[in-house]
């Protein structure tokens, strides 16, 4: 009996102890299990390293990232600025990346095209959000511990963040015109959009404050300086049509700033590191390859599709193929001036593939911009355009025979991603030029034309043309069975000649006749205007600028160019040029701005009202 009751007592006590142990410490049990695992909290970042890191991240969204999708977010705007205009076709095959068909055909309200439009919007506002986060964190850290950052660093950080905020808003402005402007103290993310004039005022205000805060020499080559901010201010002023102010701003940058033209165009778009961020670069996306990111995703992420196809070293994917129209634009007259100006009726008459050996005189920039059949492609051998599997072009019947070239690296540059990720041969650390000094000179010339300074405009255009005359594509021979041997076979004089750039009249060149000369002083404002616009096209072709330029030059001009581009090519030998453009919408008033992403318009709803107003006509 005694044993039994002891036993019962023992068990009862044990159970009670267990139950109370289970109930004990309820608070701790839940709270210790609520801490997020493997992440950082806001407190960890509230210091100098956190502020600098947040700023770094604000630079990164200039191009596509692991988390933004592709390719509408590309830093170069190749979809929005080149394919949408007369510079290039989407290319590749009809069925790859069909959203770009919608962009190219100006079906911008269609769901596929909207996806891309939303990508661009998303990355732009992510950039703004990171820039604003930097400013907020900087202020918080300085308030808590003023000694955490040196004054110089603190000022530059703030200036860089404000500059980046303006940079991203400028991207939004030139895409959509009427956009909401977000600053570091904004908390309502469903703000209404501002009209274009207000956006311009905000941009200039931010760029002015950034210029005050920023040092004259950037803290690092990839960062903004006071001069970057001033140059962008001039760009904004030209876009806004404030030509007199633009002349002042840009003239100041030209004369007092640190920028010069490179000696040769191939030093601007290059994989050779010694030319990275040279004197011509005002702002560039700092692509990096072989940097420890195992998939090469900090390289030219947004450009990865824009390489010759599987017959070439790159292997994929044949997008962004230069148009016949662009190739024709490089033809020059006997004086070495654009045929486009001297013979408006005939410059674009040729439908024929412009191949090596055709000695029609052309601007040497053609072969820095366009890969064409039989011509050396930097130092990758001869471009081959065939109907077979050794072709560098994926589908000639869809995208024509030409390949993009500026964004490709040189074999000898060593800037190619060595391994990892999808298609490392298309990944490189070629700087993606966002604003370069030649662009600035031509913006200045444009403003000078509009303010009546034709001599000044001529001089600036001629600076660019003089540099264009400095070099042309050379043999690029390499002692290699697959690359060098065909070059030598086609051009025996090229044996052993590894030069990628040569003087434009170098005897090694037998595939083309290059000619580019300077203008005498422009005779009239109308001529000057056309000359400046043509020069912009030739110099900045395939750099994602063209469509924004056309829109800036007004509905009449843009519609004439683009509609002519569609219809003028109607008789081409390559029938698909017609076929997939036959469904393109005519360029009309509404195409002066891209439509806002419908998704974002609907997400801006507050109490049944859509705060974001869609652009007119969409």
């Amino acid at each position: 009996m005694k044993i039994a009751s002891n036993y019962r007592l023992l068990v009862g006590t044990a159970v009670l102890t267990l139950v109370s142990a289970g109930l004990y410490g309820c608070k701790d049990f839940l709270s210790t299990n609520s801490v997020p695992q493997g992440t950082l909290d806001a407190g960890t970042l509230a210091n100098a390293a956190g502020v600098e890191g947040t700023l770094i991240a604000a630079y990164r969204t200039i191009d596509c990232t692991n988390n933004t999708g592709a390719w509408g977010c590309a830093a170069s705007n190749w979809v929005w600025g080149s394919v949408a205009a007369d510079d290039s076709y989407k290319g590749s095959t009809n069925t790859d990346q069909p959203p770009i068909n919608d962009i190219e055909g100006r079906h911008w309200g269609a769901p596929d095209g909207q996806d891309y439009i939303n990508q661009k919007w998303t990355i732009v506002y992510e950039g703004i959000s990171r820039a604003n986060a930097t400013i907020r964190l900087l202020k918080q850290v300085l308030a808590a511990n003023p000694a955490e950052l040196s004054t110089a660093d603190a000022r530059s950080i703030e200036g860089e963040a404000i500059f980046l905020r303006a940079y991203y808003h400028f991207e939004a402005y030139r895409m959509w015109g009427n956009v909401p402007y977000y600053r570091e103290d904004d908390t309502d993310f469903r703000k209404a959009n501002e009209d274009q004039a207000a956006v311009v005022a905000d941009l200039i205000k931010d760029l002015d404050s950034a210029a005050v805060l920023l040092p004259a020499t950037p803290r690092d080559k990839g960062r903004a300086s006071a001069w970057t901010a001033r140059a962008y201010k001039g760009r904004v002023q030209v876009y806004a049509g404030q030509f007199a102010a633009a002349v002042t701003t840009l003239q100041n940058v030209k004369t007092s700033g640190p920028y010069h033209l490179e000696t040769s165009l191939d030093h601007v778009w290059t994989g050779f590191k010694q030319f990275y961020d040279g004197p011509e670069t005002i702002f560039a996306y700092q692509a990096s390859a072989n940097d420890g990111e195992p998939n090469g995703n900090n390289a030219n992420f947004g450009e990865r599709l824009n390489f010759p196809y599987s017959g070439s070293h790159f292997g994929c994917c044949g997008f962004n193929q230069p148009s016949q129209n662009l190739v024709n634009a490089y033809r020059v007259d006997a004086a070495g001036l654009p045929l486009l100006l001297s013979s408006p009726a005939t410059w674009n008459a040729s439908n024929a593939q412009f191949v090596a050996g055709d000695m029609t005189p052309v601007d040497p920039r053609l072969d820095w911009t366009v890969g064409r059949n039989g011509v050396p492609y930097k130092d990758w051998g001869l471009v081959k355009v065939t109907n077979g599997s050794d072709s560098w072009v994926r589908d000639v019947s869809n995208g024509g025979p030409y390949s993009p070239k500026k964004n490709a690296h040189e074999a000898a540059s060593g800037s190619e991603q060595l391994a990892g990720g999808w298609a490392p041969t298309q990944q490189n650390s070629v700087r993606i030029q966002l604003f370069r000094f030649a662009d600035l000179l031509l913006l200045l010339a444009e403003a000078q034309v509009e303010t009546g300074d034709l001599a000044g405009a001529t001089a600036n255009v001629n600076l660019v043309r003089a540099r264009a005359a400095a070099s042309a594509q050379g043999c690029g021979y390499r002692n290699d069975a697959t690359i060098g041997a065909p070059v030598q076979a086609a051009y025996p004089q090229c044996a052993g000649d590894a030069r990628i750039a040569v003087p434009i009249n170098d005897p090694s060149i037998t595939w083309a006749r290059y000619s580019v000369s300077q203008y005498p002083v422009f005779p009239s404002a109308a001529y000057a205007r056309e000359a400046v616009r043509t020069e912009r096209r030739l110099e900045l072709a395939m750099e994602g600028q063209r469509f924004f330029d056309l829109r800036r030059w007004g509905l009449a001009y843009a519609a004439a160019q683009i509609n002519g581009y569609i219809k003028g090519e109607g008789g081409r030998a390559e029938p698909s040029f017609v076929a997939y453009k036959s469904s393109a919408e005519d360029f009309t008033q509404r195409h002066l701005l891209y439509p806002l992403p419908n998704l974002q318009v609907s997400l801006s709803t507050v109490n049944g009202e859509q705060r974001l107003k869609q652009n007119a006509g969409w």
Binding site: V11, V15, V19, L23, F29, L30, S31, T32, N33, V35, P36, Q37, T39, L40, T44, G50, G53, I56, Y59, R60, T65, N67, T68, T93, T95, G105, A110, P111, W121, T122, E126, S129, A133, F189, D220, K221, G222, Y276, D277, Q286, N290, D291, E293, N298, C316, G388, S389, D390, R394, S397, L418, A419, W422, S429, Y580, S583, E585, Q600, T605, G608
Partner: protein, 1088 residues
């Protein structure tokens, strides 16, 4: 050459393997069972039911010995026993009978059925008489569910339980997605599984051998499930494995089943397999677009020929024809991987190259026994299913030990299972996203002209222009044959109970689920495709987890006259943690299996990528349940549970979940007693609240982070040196609280017509409030994951019913259910959001207030443009916008869309809801007959009124990426003389007709014979295998559907958002799923 041989060898040898497997398993069964009986004094007799019909399958035992037998189909048994022996008779569903032999030679027995409402059901923490249950609880007919051939017991719950839907792919070991009574939330809608009292957050249950399961109860409404309050809002499935021995010496049961599988349908039934026939489609596409037809593959378009070679690397061709096609090659110049040569194929049947016969084997052996003081059961299982796709293989071995010891008032024991699963072949058990990859998506849409192998036996591919850029699916399967996913689980619990008094008992139980999931995979180089790659890589990951639950309950049971009280008090703590490690290495120097490790020396160290993540969460609970029964007439039940969750915000961590149920056993009222029509009727009403907190841990606070590929930047301009960057990765919500599901249920359990018919019906309404969801923020807020908020609302209404009849020689059970799902609110202001993923042509799913979750969305198909005038009227040139809407790309033979908003233009605003993936009605039916020693059963399942978005049309109708096409595409496409076609005009420039529209929406209705089994019980007087039952079985033998795609039974896609599993936003989209299996098998069950 080596690859070629091994690839084909495997396929051919399968038929030999399965013959061997069948033979060996039968021999094994014979051998093990042949010597089990000795001779003694003969006793025989017949067991009948109270209605007088013979009862087969009754276990007859001589108590205290290992002498036993089973009655044959005439209810007859024969055994030998001592004259004073005690015989016990037992059969599931019948009250057991004990009797003494008392010198008789003939002992005939009548067994009474356990009345429906008398059945004992394990629900929550306790066992209950069905007649005491006031909630909606369905029991699964285990015998019927175990007839299925598959790794998981969940696979066929839909046919067995009304109100449950299950979708699963046909890959061995594939996940079954179970939904109870509709869908209650935008995410994480898996029910809670409680196995032997331990909650499990896992939805495969592959580690659980179906053969070990004693009972499965589905708790469908809050009054039944709210005692599991915290996680019960999606319903609860209570599974018991507590099969334990009955008193007596060891009893051994062997169950063996082995069979042959094949896909219910193949793409070769749908797609072209002839190269020249394919060319005619390609030709039409160019001709109709006014383009020149490519000649690089088939030569002269008017006299096409199969090419000698589809690809010859530059320099390898020694002769070409007029079209530049190589006609002769110098094979000596072939080199892998840089200089390949591929022949042309007159027609490769890609489907049959990849899919064919599989094989399944299920082997169970268990031993059980016990005495008054203890009971035990030990079981072993080996399950092996080779998929119908080559190299796809699932293997599982489990060992289980269940024991229980009684020492007076104290009892204790354990249930424990160790399971090891291995999945080979790299086919995910739960494929998600967009199925272009692997062998199941569009790779089965390869053009027939592409051969499987090149001239040297390496794998070929579509390397030339117009051949697409597809990966050879045979190569995919071959190179992933060693990809292996392993799951090691140790699952179980230990428990102890103490009966303090007769009325009060205490119980404590510690349940645990711990183990490890690993995966090793290989990605090959692919030089054979147009966009060639020359590097390979390995991926390896490992997830370790530990989840434990400790529950303590006290139960008080007391009867005071007609008043019966049953009160339960309990407390529970649960903690879960996991840690996930993943690694990647590219450019392997040696790709041999033994060298596939993440190690700098074994590949290119710069491609190495290793990272880890983890999670922790905890729950604390207190609960009580009180049942009151007055004279078996009036029944009331009250439950309350209070839960604290670590996932929710301080101050909102604790939630209270009350419920009550009322039952009126109306047939026990005097005015109905003795009613022959209404033998037994109970009316039930219940209402209550359940909760949901299943979101990622740590979402109360904002989180920051950054990856090298998205926040790091080379700001110094070096070209190869990135600086660290940080961004906000997710926004926290310091007010996160419980999601609540309020449900009401009215039901009736009826036994009618002299006990001949069982009828159960339940009608319900479930409202989800404070729905946990992360609605999208405008992009102006950045890309950080939006905060999870408690704003959404959803409603499900519906009914479930079940009707059963058992006659002397046949029985039938019919289950039917219907639900309506409706989104009531998203975030207060937003009226819709799109589905979680989009296809190449956009997003075809919308979640919109007022409509069901995951509705299909797009344009409305309005026929074809049948004339030039019709097309012109829809273009600006034809002055559209006035009398007819402007439609981009309007042209003869293309698809016309409807101007929904009548604004004169077809644009995004004309998209509307074009269908729902939710069935209007689902039904299951079990039929059984037995005659003499023969028995047969059949299970049907049907889904009615659901729609399928046939996304594969993107490929096999619209030829995205130059894929293969449907066999009838050319004959049934629009032409000027075929104005009533099935398909639009074939036109390579028609990028308009393919816009997502109701043209893709098809009826998903189907009826399927899930299972057909014919069995024979070997008479007990037979010398060998007495009492053993052998059977032949067919799974999925017959399907009736109008769906033209592969298989109307589509699995849900595995899609996750930042806040959890969002697969319910993407149901019914056919993206190319592994088809269901048709299985023929033979089996034997024998006890000795």
């Amino acid at each position: 050459m080596e690859k070629k041989l091994s690839a084909r060898h495997e396929v051919r040898n399968r038929s030999l393997h399965r013959v061997c497997a069948v033979a060996i398993s039968l021999l094994l069964a014979l051998f093990v069972t042949g010597n089990a009986f000795g001779q003694n004094l003969a006793v025989q007799g017949t067991v009948t039911s109270t209605g007088g019909s013979p009862l087969p399958g009754v276990t007859v035992r001589v108590q205290g010995t290992d002498i036993r037998t089973i009655t044959d189909n005439a209810g007859h048994y024969r055994l030998s026993a001592p004259g004073d022996a005690v015989l016990t008779f037992s059969l599931v569903g019948q009250k057991p009978v004990q009797t003494t032999v008392a010198g008789r030679n003939t002992v005939d027995i009548t067994m009474a059925k356990i009345a429906y409402l008398e059945q004992v059901v394990v629900t929550a923490y306790t066992e209950q008489r069905r007649g005491d249950i006031t909630g909606a609880v369905s029991s699964v007919d285990i015998a019927s569910a175990q007839k299925q051939t598959g790794a998981s017991v969940l696979q066929r719950l839909d046919a067995a339980v009304p109100g449950v839907t299950v979708v699963a792919g046909g890959s061995p070991g594939a996940r079954s997605t179970v939904r109870i009574r509709g869908i209650s939330s935008f995410q994480n809608n898996d029910p809670l599984y409680v196995i032997d009292g331990t909650p499990v957050e896992e939805s495969y249950l592959n580690f659980l051998n179906p053969d070990d399961i004693t009972s499965v109860q589905v708790l469908k409404d809050a009054s039944a499930s709210s005692i599991y309050g915290s996680r019960a809002s999606n319903g609860v499935v209570v599974i018991e494995t507590t099969k334990r021995g009955v008193q007596g010496p060891p009893q051994t049961t062997l169950r063996v089943r082995t069979g042959v599988t094949s896909p219910v349908r193949g793409y070769d039934d749908i797609l072209l397999t002839n190269s020249l026939a394919y060319f005619q489609v390609e030709k039409a596409a160019y001709v109709n677009a006014g383009l020149a037809v490519p000649t690089n593959i088939y030569g002269d378009p008017n006299n096409p020929t199969v090419p000698a070679y589809i690809f010859a690397a530059p320099g390898t061709a020694t002769a070409t024809d007029a079209f530049g096609r190589p006609t002769a090659v110098n094979a000596a110049l072939y080199s892998y991987p840089n200089s390949l040569i591929m022949p042309g194929s007159a027609g490769t049947n890609w489907w049959s190259e990849v899919f064919g016969h599989g094989q399944v084997g299920d082997y169970n052996l268990d031993v059980n026994g016990g005495s008054d003081a203890n009971a035990y059961r030990v079981s072993f299982n080996y399950f092996n299913q080779k998929g119908t796709a080559i190299y796809n293989d699932f293997r599982r071995g489990t060992v289980r030990a269940n024991t229980q010891f009684n020492r007076g008032k104290l009892n204790f024991g354990e249930n424990m299972a160790l399971a090891l699963e291995r999945h080979y072949g790299g086919i995910p058990d739960d494929p998600g996203g967009y199925a272009e990859d692997g062998i199941l998506g569009k790779d089965i849409l390869m053009q027939p002209v592409i051969p499987v192998f090149d001239i040297k036996g390496n794998f070929a591919g579509g390397k030339s222009t117009t051949l697409g850029n597809q990966t050879n699916p045979v190569k995919w399967a071959f190179t992933h044959r060693d990809d292996v996913g392993k799951n090691l689980n140790l699952f179980g619990n230990v428990f102890g109970g103490y009966d303090v008094t007769q009325a009060i008992s205490l119980k404590t139980r510690l349940g645990f689920n711990t183990g490890e999931n690993t995966f090793n995979g290989y990605s090959p180089a692919s030089p054979e495709v147009a966009e060639a790659t020359f590097t390979d890589a390995i991926d390896e990951n490992q997830n370790q987890f530990l989840d434990w639950t400790w529950s303590n309950t006290a139960r008080f049971v007391k009867a005071l006259g007609s008043h019966n009280f049953d009160i339960l008090l309990g407390q529970e703590a649960n903690q879960g943690q996991n840690r996930f490690l993943t690694g990647h290495l590219g450019n392997l120097l040696n790709n041999a299996l033994d060298a596939r490790y993440i190690n700098d020396a074994l590949g290119d160290a710069t491609t190495k990528n290793v990272s880890s993540t983890g999670g922790k969460s905890a729950l604390l609970s207190l609960f009580a349940k009180a049942d009151y029964n007055f004279a078996d007439k009036y029944i009331a039940s009250f439950t309350v549970r209070r839960d604290g969750s670590s996932r929710l915000a301080p101050g909102h961590q604790w939630g209270t979940f009350p419920a009550f149920g009322l039952g009126w056993h109306i047939s026990n009222e005097r005015f109905l007693s003795g009613n022959r029509f209404l033998n037994d009727v109970m009316l039930r009403y219940g209402m209550g609240v359940t909760g949901n907190q299943l979101i990622p841990s740590g979402r109360i606070v904002s989180q920051f982070g950054g990856e090298r590929g998205e926040t790091y930047y080379d700001v110094t301009g070096s070209g190869n040196n990135i600086q660290a960057g940080f961004r906000q990765t997710s926004l926290g919500n310091p007010n996160l609280q419980w999601e609540e599901n309020r449900s009401q249920n009215v039901g009736a359990d009826m036994v009618l017509f002299n006990g001949n018919i069982n009828f159960v019906i339940d009608v319900y309404r479930r409202n989800t409030n404070n729905l946990l969801f992360d609605p999208a923020l405008p992009a102006t807020a950045g890309i950080a994951s939006p905060p999870i908020v408690n704003v959404g609302k959803m409603r499900n209404t519906g009914f479930d019913l079940s009707v059963g009849h058992t006659a002397s020689w046949w029985n039938v059970t019919f289950n039917g259910s219907h639900y309506t799902n409706k989104i009531i609110a998203i975030n207060g202001t937003q009226t819709f959001f799109y589905g979680p993923i989009s296809t190449r042509f956009g997003n075809q799913v919308i979640n919109q207030v007022g409509s069901p979750i995951g509705s299909f969305y797009g344009y409305v198909f309005d026929g074809f443009f049948n004339s030039a005038a019709d097309a012109a009227a829809h273009t600006p040139a034809g002055n559209c916008g006035v009398s007819s809407a402007c439609q981009d790309g309007a042209s003869m033979g293309r698809i016309k869309f409807r101007d929904i908003n009548h604004d004169g233009v077809i644009n995004a605003d004309d998209r509307t809801i074009i269908g729902s993936p939710h069935p209007k009605f689902t039904a299951g039916m079990d039929l059984g007959v037995h005659r003499g020693n023969w028995d047969a059963s059949a299970t049907f399942f049907g889904s009615y009124g659901n729609k399928i978005f046939e996304n594969q049309m993107e490929f096999y109708v619209f030829r995205e990426f130059e894929t293969n096409v449907k066999q009838d595409l050319l004959a049934n496409s629009w032409t000027p003389t075929n104005l009533n076609p099935k398909y639009p005009r074939i036109d390579i420039n028609d990028t308009f007709s393919r816009a997502l529209s109701s043209y893709y929406v098809k009826s998903g209705t189907y009826t399927r014979l899930r299972n057909l089994q014919i069995g024979y019980t070997i008479p007990s007087q037979m010398q060998y295998l007495p009492g053993a039952r052998v059977y032949l079985q067919g799974d999925n033998l017959w399907t009736q559907t109008s769906y033209e795609g592969l298989d109307p039974s589509l699995p849900a896609a595995n899609i996750s958002g930042a806040a959890g599993d969002v697969r319910d936003q993407y149901r019914g989209v056919d993206r190319g799923a592994y088809p269901s299996n048709k299985i023929f098998s033979v089996g034997i069950v024998t006890t000795f």
